[in-house]
Amino acid sequence: MSTLKIKNRLYRDKLMLWIVCILAALSVGPLLAILGEVLLRGYDQLSWSFFTEPTPTAYKAMKAIEAGERIPGGIANGIVGTMIMLGMAIVIAVPAGILCGTFLAEHSNSRFAQIVSYLTDLLQGTPSVIIGIITYIWVVVPMKGYSAFAGSVALCIMMLPLIIRSTEETLKIIPASLKEAGLALGGNKARVMLKVQLPAAFGGIFTGILLAISRVIGETAPLMFTALGCSHIRFSVDKPISAVPLLIWEFFNDPNLQELIWGASLFLLLFVLTLNLIAKYLAKKWNQ
């Protein structure tokens, strides 16, 4: 083989390395660009009143803009709404998801469990806008009105498959010896699961729950047809309610309120990214 040909091959090898490195580095760009933009445009809107006051009316905002002042008010109605709906969704989705995941892990060979496993994948891949339609048909139509309850049902359906998967997968990697030791001590299956396996799997399940929360907290589409939105702070479950992503969507569509977009987005983005980072950290710690 001639030296020229070898040189050529070595050159192509180097070129490939550089292309991979450059393109991979470029992929970091969007995260930095998005974070940067939201931070730069949103940081000066964050203040105490931004978190404690509800959204202003378009008229008030217009007046403030005309007078050259800061738009009064904030996103408190959205934060309260998100917390209420998320709280209700968690109360249902976490226990149901953990039980379902436990079943799948214990009966991984049965036909029924395999079908349920496929259905979990199916539900996880279902576009969020369809979850919105479904909740509209199931809850909003029979209850004759948009409500916080409907919103929480939508969030709950979206969280379920994520929690089921993380529970199932975590329980499957826990050493069988642990379970056998528990059974050898005379515990029945239920007791061993509750006192030995689930506590041992806690880290993984908790990570899964955090990720599920961070997935649904930014969801807009399923809430548009269920929770609808509301411009003042509300604590009732059977009435329309706002949420942070819904507010961002409202601000986006209302020229008078457009300045508020960035503060709300910054809050949402930081919340979601922090949850993600905590989950990632816990997962790493738990794996060691």
Binding site: R9, L10, R12, D13, M16, L17, V20, I22, L23, A24, S27, V28, P30, L31, A33, I34, E37, V38, L99, C100, T102, F103, E106, A113, I115, V116, L119, L123, G125, T126, P127, V129, I130, I133, I134, I137, W138, I164, N188, K189, A190, M193, S214, R215, G218, E219, T220, A221, M224, P245, I248, W249, F252, S265, L268, L269, V272, L273, N276, K280
Partner: protein, 285 residues
């Protein structure tokens, strides 16, 4: 708690899944029935008319199916040149190093950003660039939506591909090295053929993600109910027409929107099922 009760509780809770999934299909089918009955199933899918003038209502899903397929395809084309290098970086070149773990953390965070924030970024940052480059006059187009979609699906494609690239047995690679192959040649001749089906399946799943993406597309595609005649023209995807009109629709239009939802559901379900089966096969082999 005794064993019997424990088993019953577990089984009963697990029944939630078939009930929810069955309920989804049942609700979509019954509520979409009106539209299919009125227009005929095939005609609904192939008609490109979408007008809600009273009395002359005419609804067809073709513009939106086209819009969805176009955005997904263009997004995939833009996604591959970035997600594949990320996968190679994390799974082969810098496997197990600190840089690789930082890169994979960053791409995972990309998956965590809410889609409405992607939409905002596309609207306020990318759209002015598209206008400045004279690609499309208002800046909203299939291309704009696809570019942001491409960024959104990078993490889904790259993390799974990296996993399959990592699983390529070392002895195969060492065999090639001992024959004098360079790293680039090992990747081309050993890594890609061995991990190929796995990498392919990760892109199938990424497509599943892109098909149903709602807010980003709604904010960037321009929302016109016509078949986009090029990637720089405006249009609507199945998810974005639902997001746009569901709140104000009733009667036949509501039923038509739900019918579009059913079609979208069937498409994503099929793609996801294919992807999952392929992954399972790739993992076993």
């Amino acid at each position: 708690m005794n064993d019997k009760l424990y088993r019953i509780v577990l089984f009963a809770t697990t029944l939630i899944m078939p009930i929810v999934c069955g309920g989804i299909v049942y609700a979509l089918v019954t509520d979409a029935y009106d539209a299919f009955e009125h227009f005929g199933f095939l005609k609904f899918l192939t008609s490109s008319e979408w007008s809600y003038t009273q009395g002359k209502e005419q609804y067809g899903a073709l513009p939106f199916i086209t819009g969805t397929l176009m955005t997904t395809l263009v997004a995939l084309i833009f996604c591959i040149p970035f997600s594949l290098p990320v996968a190679l970086f994390v799974g082969e070149y810098f496997k197990g190093t600190r840089v690789a773990s930082i890169l994979s953390t960053v791409t995972d965070l990309l998956a965590g950003i809410p889609s409405i924030i992607y939409g905002l970024w596309g609207f306020y940052t990318l759209r002015p660039i598209i206008i400045a480059l004279n690609i499309s006059p208002q800046g909203s187009s299939v291309l704009t939506a696809s570019l942001v979609l491409a960024i959104m699906i990078i993490p889904y494609a790259s993390s799974l591909s990296a996993e399959f690239i990592k699983m390529v047995p070392n002895d195969l690679k060492e065999g090639a090295y001992s024959l004098g192959a360079t790293r680039a040649e090992v990747i081309q001749k050993v890594v890609f053929p061995v991990a190929g089906s796995g990498i392919f399946s990760s892109y199938v799943l990424a497509i599943g993600r892109a098909l149903g993406e709602t807010m980003t597309v709604t904010m960037l595609i321009g929302n016109t109910n016509n078949i986009p005649n090029s990637i720089t023209s405006t249009g609507n995807s199945m998810a974005s027409i639902i997001a746009n009109q569901f709140g104000e629709a009733d009667g036949l239009r509501l039923s038509s929107l739900i019918a579009i939802g059913l079609v979208l559901f069937m498409i994503t379900a099929t793609i996801n099922l294919i992807g999952k089966i392929m992954i399972k096969r790739a993992r076993i082999s």
